[in-house]
């Protein structure tokens, strides 16, 4: 990972009330790369995206984007920084009272003074890039899950962001939509010269499209590497995750009291 870093996360700690989520994580996202952040449910992946977006503040450490510490920015500075970011939410988060066209045009209308004719051309170009130019007149409720995710992707890149964040972009998609969305993440990143962070559980799809992978467990980075390094890794956690094994460093059972005691079973019965 030699390229210049767009995002630097150093010694970041974060807790919800007294429950620690991140305990000193260090990650680097170089410019132009697609990075995956993986880990079990509740390991703090989405929290990490919220820290990068400035929605949360770390209790220790910092997130730096293009040299600026996010949690030290004032409201105006944060909003200026966010105009250079795009985020795809888990289920798209399309505005349900607006058509597909208006969803994609939303940021252009809010942040620029472009005439409506130019906005129209830009919206159609963005929708064409995700293969959904013909849906511009539809409402979000009329779209399938995969289509909604692609429209949300078009909206995310509406203003050509430098940093694109994806929160579980593959969740709940059929294999075809999953592959389409995966390829779009890669191609849009390369076309825009952006940097992408993909938070996901989907190991196989991610290994196909990303440049580098971080694994998070128990609030720390437990493994990292290129897709080839991850595939050949013999670290127990990575092996369990990549091969989807039921038991390993991540236990199948949530911590609980003695099973026999819970069932009121006495020895010998």
């Amino acid at each position: 990972m030699s390229s210049q870093a767009l995002v630097e996360i150093r010694d970041v700690n974060f807790a919800y009330d007294s429950r620690p989520i991140l305990k000193g994580v260090n990650l680097t996202f170089p410019k132009g790369k697609v990075i995956a952040v993986m880990g079990g449910s509740g390991c703090g992946k989405t929290t990490l995206l919220q820290l990068i977006g400035g929605a949360l503040k770390p209790s220790r450490g910092y997130v730096k984007i293009d040299g600026q510490v996010i949690h030290k920015l004032d409201h105006k500075g944060l909003y200026l920084m966010r105009r250079r970011m795009g985020m795809l939410f888990q289920f798209g988060a399309l505005f349900t009272d607006m058509s597909v066209y208006d969803n994609v045009a939303f940021q252009m209308r809010e942040h620029t003074d472009l005439p409506e004719e130019i906005i129209r051309d830009l919206v159609l170009m963005k929708l064409n890039a995700v293969g959904l130019r013909g849906t511009h007149h539809l409402m979000p409720a009329e779209l399938s899950g995969g289509m909604a995710r692609r429209v949300a992707l078009a909206r995310t890149v509406a203003l050509d962001p430098k940093l694109i964040m994806y929160d579980e972009p593959f969740a709940g998609l059929d294999p075809i939509s999953l592959s389409v969305v995966g390829n779009l993440i890669r191609s849009l990143n390369d076309a825009l010269g952006a940097t992408s962070v993909v938070v996901t559980h989907d190991v196989q799809e991610s290994l196909k499209i990303v440049d580098y992978i971080y694994f998070i467990a128990d609030g720390v980075v437990v493994a990292e590497g290129t897709p080839a390094e991850i595939r050949s890794s013999d670290k127990p956690f990575v092996h369990q995750f990549v091969h989807g094994e039921m038991d390993g460093p991540v236990p199948f059972h949530y911590p609980s009291s003695n099973y026999e005691q819970d069932l009121n079973l006495r020895p010998g019965r």
Binding site: G53, A55, L78, Y79, L80, R82, R83, M85, G86, M87, F89, Q90, F91, A93, L94, F95, T96, F106, Q107, E110, H111
Partner: protein, 264 residues
């Protein structure tokens, strides 16, 4: 539970209540702070005026007519005992513009438009639409909340006026057309009995205050709703209950200030 646990529970409830009042006050100040957009881009407010004001017209007009008709019937029955049927117009109009118009229109507005506002904002939060807007560097307070607030504040006095107007019409239909009270007495008594400044303006002030209260409560409950189906339904219920109680409480306070000269 032991006494200490009871005290701890009570203390926690009080702290939570104080915290919530503080949060709601901050929310209200934020609405005012971000209100510039609602007037600079007035089309956003007009869109909300349609959904909260125009879409409430049917229930307001129909309810106003029936309330006026009931007032006509009951008023006639009471006034007849004293041989004062001719004062029916005055009684109907004063009841409506001073009290029933602002209060009932506000209660109906809270049930119809307030609950819709809460559900809409709550669902937008639950489906991450508000977070998406934040991440686009667009303030949800300026873009979503403030236009809805001002739409509610503007539409409430207008709806209240329409409620009263339809009520007077309903009273006229029952009193003059059906029962046969003299038409000239009905209108002249009304004209003589209703003072523009004292009755109509004060009624409008009441409905403006109710509009501020109902809309602020509805928006706060939606914005503060837990992002679950149960959370949104609970917030919608709270909007109707809190708004109704607030309207009745504020009505008592405002009436005490506005009309005390006539009562005491």
């Amino acid at each position: 539970m032991t006494t200490v646990e009871n005290l701890r529970f009570l203390g926690r409830r009080i702290v939570n209540a104080v915290w919530r009042i503080g949060y709601a006050s901050r929310f209200f100040i934020m609405i005012l702070f971000y209100s510039g957009t609602s007037f600079r881009r007035f089309h956003l407010t007009i869109k909300e005026l349609f959904s909260s004001g125009v879409m409430s017209l049917i229930i307001i007009l129909v309810a106003g007519t029936f309330v006026g008709m009931v007032l006509g019937l009951q008023g006639y029955e009471t006034l007849k005992r004293y041989g004062a049927e001719s004062a029916l117009g005055s009684l109907v109009a004063l009841s409506l513009v001073r009290e029933l118009g602002p209060v009932l229109a506000a209660l109906l507005f809270a049930s119809r438009a307030g609950s819709a506002m809460t559900a809409e904002i709550g669902l937008m939060k639950a489906t991450e639409q508000i977070s998406a807007m934040e991440m686009m560097a667009i303030s949800p307070m300026a873009r979503l909340v403030a236009p809805r607030f001002w739409a509610g504040v503007i539409s409430m006095p207008l709806l209240s006026a329409l409620f009263s107007a339809m009520g007077v019409f309903g009273g006229y239909v029952v009193g003059v057309v059906l029962i046969g009270v003299d038409q000239g007495s009905f209108w002249s008594q009304m004209q003589a009995g209703v003072d523009f400044q004292h009755d109509i303006v004060n009624g409008m002030i009441k409905s403006f205050v109710f509009g501020v209260a109902v809309t602020a409560i509805a928006l706060f409950e939606g914005y503060d709703a837990p992002p679950t189906a149960e959370g949104v339904s609970g917030a919608t219920t709270r909007t109707v209950v809190e708004s109704s109680l607030t309207i009745l409480f504020l009505d008592f306070i405002l009436t005490a200030f506005m009309f005390q000269g006539g009562v005491v």
